[in-house]
Amino acid sequence: MNILEATHLTKTYTIGDREIDVLKDVSLAVPEGEFLVVQGNSGSGKTTLLSILSGLDKPTQGRVFIEGRDITDLGEDEIAPLRNEIIGFVFQSFHLVPSLTVLENVMFPAELRRDPLAGDKARALLERVGMQDRLLSFPHQLSGGEKQRAALCRALVNAPRIIFADEPTGNLDSTNGKAILELLLGLREEHGTTLILVTHSGQIARMADRTILLRDGTINGESPHAP
């Protein structure tokens, strides 16, 4: 079963008096549990595609379905539960809330659903990634690798069915990047989560079940990889 489907996605931005077509008629389907990489150079539309697939943005044309539900025209408050319970995000710039501690950042999505076990789940995840000594630290007190580990835990605390990761190792050195990727993939295996990852790294792309190549806003190739 396809956990995510997108049909004829087009996205046009107006900047000043110019119109820029960032995505042009992109369609794809993602089976449940798949590790999909969206690859492309800077400006190819990868981040835009990710933000539309995850419901952060609306396409100019086209439809997006998550678990068979059309999310294209949902209002912000209607899509919020989806983001909270079904989707998890990992960003290149981490995007931790600066005024919350590591523990509070990770607990946050669970607290939104009033999960009484929010704290326990957060602690368990942070311990899992080796952050048990940094629970009360603030983001600005962490290294890049630590921030991304915290962000990863935050993305997983509600056991989402899909994780969207936008260049999760882009701001990390190779050691930390490799460690984060291993964690991400390991946790994904453990929970059977569908992972849609955006990267321009060919090395990461080779680890995926399938890679989509984006160029100038269109899918320029698709290559399934051997399991």
Binding site: S51, E76, S93, F108
Partner: protein
């Protein structure tokens, strides 16, 4: 659901921006709270004891001796021992030092034994007033001794009598301030009234009967009975509950005006609140976007930030209350000379609760829009800020506008008792702020397109358009607030130049009042110089253009009203500064019956046309006249003028006095005054230059107080400058670092930032000067009818002061930015 850690840290970590927000909230309410408390204190100290202030339980006023009917009614109640009465006579007269050429216009009050019925007249000696004021003795105000160079025990001529100064009055119960007097007080015993020989037919005397009712339950019954016997329009019967003393009217009006200024400050501080909040929330956009990305609803986000702002708003409100209370304690000093020294600041729970509610209303009103903007923020803002906001539909925009207007209306309703005037004022201020905004926008548009060769100047100019620089908000706020301050200063200078420094050459500067008709010929001979003589007959209006005059309604109006007594006159020609605006001639030769020519000022009180009928009452005698023409005045302000002019036939035989107004060299005024008063003791002489000087002193005091309150609105602009610098701190540091990396010295960076602030201050001050010069020209030429002077040097001083202030504030706020090291900044940029 409240995320307590998040809320707590948003408050504690926001630091300076939060502090500026709190200060803006404080500023918005501090002056209103202070005035509220001060007004209560004045009422408490001065006006609460209405019986003392008005002189009795029931007060009968008239400018004529009491009519027989009223006198009989009064006597009847006295005979029944229902009340006790005391008569008092008030008028101006010139007092003279025997054998010397020293004289002075004084405010006389002749009182019967038993005065005052309530309160006490306090004397310097500490003795009892009733023991001191006996036949042959007078009690005077200190300034009379100083100005006539006399001492206690000296004798002075008062009218035709020679009386001895026996004590000095320090406080009167019904005259808490001597604001409205042209001369010092002189108390005279009623036993000397006849000897004074100053009360003649038609003389300008205030006849008061002050009554003390023995049984308070009878008060209204007695008052109504006396009203039934009083001559409508000539005799007024009031109780201490209904009477509005001049002092109370003055304070009510002045405090009303100052409250308007405070609302002006509130509106400008509100711009500050919005601007500061916009900058504050801009910094939180990424946080909000992250939270929404994680599934937080708009409502959840809104609840957190409403709580943050609620706490900050509460702090601001409490600070505003505290500072308002402190300011209130200081106000008696500011108003010294206008209020009695006995006024003590008072704090009350009512004032605190009122101020608290006001603070809440202000915070809700001015944070609504920025918070709504936050709600509209989409989570994609973490990637792109351009597509981050949902567009507001016109319905939503209208709803927001309606909500804001409703809250504004609540604030006006709470602060001002006259809601209609308050809302018109607010709309006027809004229009003015809009005009300032348009002018500021036009200037910025022009500046953006200016081609500048100098690198420093060019960078400084670019700085004005830095994203998140609240340049427009600063300019609007400073322009609006400075316009008021500049206008007050320039108008004051123009009035001072026209009347005090150089009295208009053709304007009369000496008035001789209360000349009796029988004295006229002798007076003319004694004066020995040509002059126009104006007969004055006192009368009132009962009906005009088919509509009765409702005395109570008229008295409530803020400006002039038809319920008062008018000075009527008669002549057959127009005065030199008059012209006809309606009607072919002053009077119509083809009309029968009595005619009256009306001054166009009357039309402001009631629309009147040629042919309309006006019913007058003169000394109780009704008289109807047809409007034959409408006149207008032009020329200098201080020329005698009359609202109603009759034909000679109509009023020639009515009880009247005559006055004249001349232009006399200032060096001759005193001698002329002495000579004429010696011969005609009943004639009052008013040296207008002295009077204008007295009035100017009061005006300077009042305008100084107004300027003080307006300064608070300038503070709003200052706070926005500080907030703007804080909001653009990162961008400024970035600029400074890039300049240095590329080889610029610290001096260059300092020059650029300084010039940016100089430009900001200069544009704001120039716009403010433009508005204020225009306003001053309008006020001078249209309202006061005096020549307009631009006072360029003063204008330049105000401009320089503004530029210096803005530059100083901007530089102080930017100082730490200037000291930022490039390496540290660049290192920070490689991290998140």
């Amino acid at each position: 659901m409240l995320h307590k850690s998040f809320i707590r840290r948003q408050i504690t970590r926001s630091g300076r921006q939060a502090l500026v927000f709190v200060l803006c909230v404080t500023l918005s309410i501090v002056t209103i709270v202070a005035l509220d408390g001060f007004g209560s204190s004045v009422n408490e100290a001065v006006l609460k004891d209405a019986k003392s202030l008005n002189g009795g339980d029931i007060i009968v006023h008239s400018h004529q001796p009491l009519s027989p009917g009223l006198s009989r009614a009064l006597r009847s109640w006295e005979d029944q021992e229902s009340l006790r009465s005391v008569r008092a006579y008030g008028f101006y007269s010139v007092v003279r030092v025997p054998g010397e050429d020293r004289s002075l216009l004084a405010t006389l009050k002749v009182v019967e034994p038993g005065y005052p019925l309530y309160g006490s007249v306090e004397l310097q000696s500490g003795r009892r007033f009733e023991d001191v004021l006996v036949q042959g003795k007078i009690v005077v105000e200190r300034s009379l001794l100083d100005r006539l160079s006399v001492r206690m025990g000296d004798a002075i001529h008062v009218g035709s009598a020679t009386l001895t100064i026996s004590d000095v009055v320090t406080r009167e119960p019904d005259r808490p301030v001597s604001l409205f007097s042209f001369g010092p007080r002189v108390f005279v015993s009623s036993q000397d009234l006849e000897a004074l020989d100053l009360i003649r037919k038609g003389s300008r005397i205030q006849y008061d009967a002050l009554l003390k009712v023995h049984d308070p339950d009878n008060l209204e019954r007695i008052a109504q009975d006396l009203r039934d016997h009083a001559l409508q329009g000539q005799e007024r019967v009031e109780t201490y509950r209904t009477a509005r003393s001049r002092i109370k009217r003055f304070f009510d009006n002045f405090l009303f005006f100052l409250t308007l200024i405070s609302i002006f400050t509130l509106l400008l501080a509100g711009i500050g609140i919005q601007s500061v909040l916009a900058a504050f929330l801009k910094e939180k956009e990424r946080t909000v976007a992250i939270m929404k990305t994680l599934g937080a609803t708009s409502r959840f986000v809104a609840v957190q930030f409403v709580t943050v702002l609620g706490v900050l708003g509460l702090l601001g409100t409490l600070a505003g209350l505290a500072l308002g209370a402190l300011l209130q304690a200081w106000l008696p000093g500011l108003f010294r000379g206008l209020i009695p020294s006995s006024v003590q600041p008072s704090l009350s729970w009512r004032m605190a609760i009122d101020g608290f509610i006001l603070g809440i209303l202000v915070v809700v009103l001015f944070t609504y829009l920025p918070l709504d903007d936050l709600k509209q923020l989409k989570p994609v803002a973490i990637f792109r800020s351009e597509s981050a906001r949902a567009r507001r539909g016109w319905r939503a925009a209208l709803t927001i506008l309606a909500v804001m207007l409703a809250f504004l209306g609540l604030i006006v309703r709470r602060s001002l008792h006259d809601f209609e005037i308050g809302m018109w004022f607010v709309l006027g201020v809004a229009a003015f702020i809009l005009a300032a905004a348009l002018m500021a926008q036009a200037v910025l548009w022009a500046l953006k397109r200016a081609r500048i060769r100098s690198l420093t100047f060019r960078q400084a100019l670019r700085g004005l358009f830095r994203p998140r620089n609240a340049t427009r908000a600063i300019m609007i706020t400073l322009t609006a607030s400075l316009s008021i301050i500049f206008s007050i200063t320039l108008v004051e200078k123009n009035i001072d130049a026209s009347f005090v420094q150089s009295f208009p050459p053709d304007t009369p500067n000496v008035f001789f009042l209360d000349i009796q008709p029988a004295q006229l010929q002798e007076f003319k001979e004694a004066l020995g110089r040509p002059a126009e003589y104006y007969p004055v007959v006192r009368g009132s209006i009962s009906r005009i253009a088919g509509e009765d005059v409702d005395v109570e309604v008229e008295r409530r109006s803020r400006g002039d009203n038809l319920a008062r007594e008018f000075n009527l006159t008669y002549r057959d020609h127009l005065l030199g500064d008059e012209s006809l605006v309606e009607g072919a001639s002053l009077f119509r030769p083809d009309w029968e019956g009595l005619q009256v020519s009306v001054l166009d000022t009357v039309l402001d009180m009631r629309p009147v046309e040629v042919g309309d009928m006006i019913a007058f009452k003169i000394q109780g005698v009704p008289m109807e006249a047809r409007v034959s023409s409408i006149r207008a005045r032009r020329g200098e302000l201080i020329q005698p003028f009359f609202y109603f002019v009759f034909q000679e036939l109509a009023l020639r035989d009515a009880p009247q006095t005559i006055f004249t107004a001349l232009r006399v060299d200032s060096g001759e005024i005193s001698a002329l005054q002495n000579r004429m008063v010696k011969r005609f003791p009943n004639v009052s002489v008013i040296d207008v230059t002295q009077a204008v000087s007295t009035l100017t002193g009061v005006m300077v005091k009042l305008s100084g107080i107004t300027r003080f309150f307006t300064v608070f609105s300038v503070l709003a602009g200052i706070l926005i400058i500080i907030s703007s610098v804080l909001a653009t701190r990162h961008a400024r540091i970035q600029e400074a670092v890039y300049f240095k990396i590329l080889g610029a010295r610290n001096g260059f960076v300092l020059k650029v930032f300084t010039l940016e602030n100089v430009l900001l201050g200069l544009v704001s001050a120039l716009l403010a000067l433009g508005f204020s010069q225009t306003a001053t020209w309008l006020i001078s030429s249209r309202l006061f009818d005096i020549p307009f002077r631009p006072f360029l040097l003063s204008s330049l001083s105000m401009l320089m002061a503004t530029v210096s202030l803005v530059t100083l504030v901007g530089l102080i706020s930017s100082w730490s930015i200037l000291r930022q090291k490039p390496a540290a900044f660049l290192r920070e940029q490689t991290e998140e």
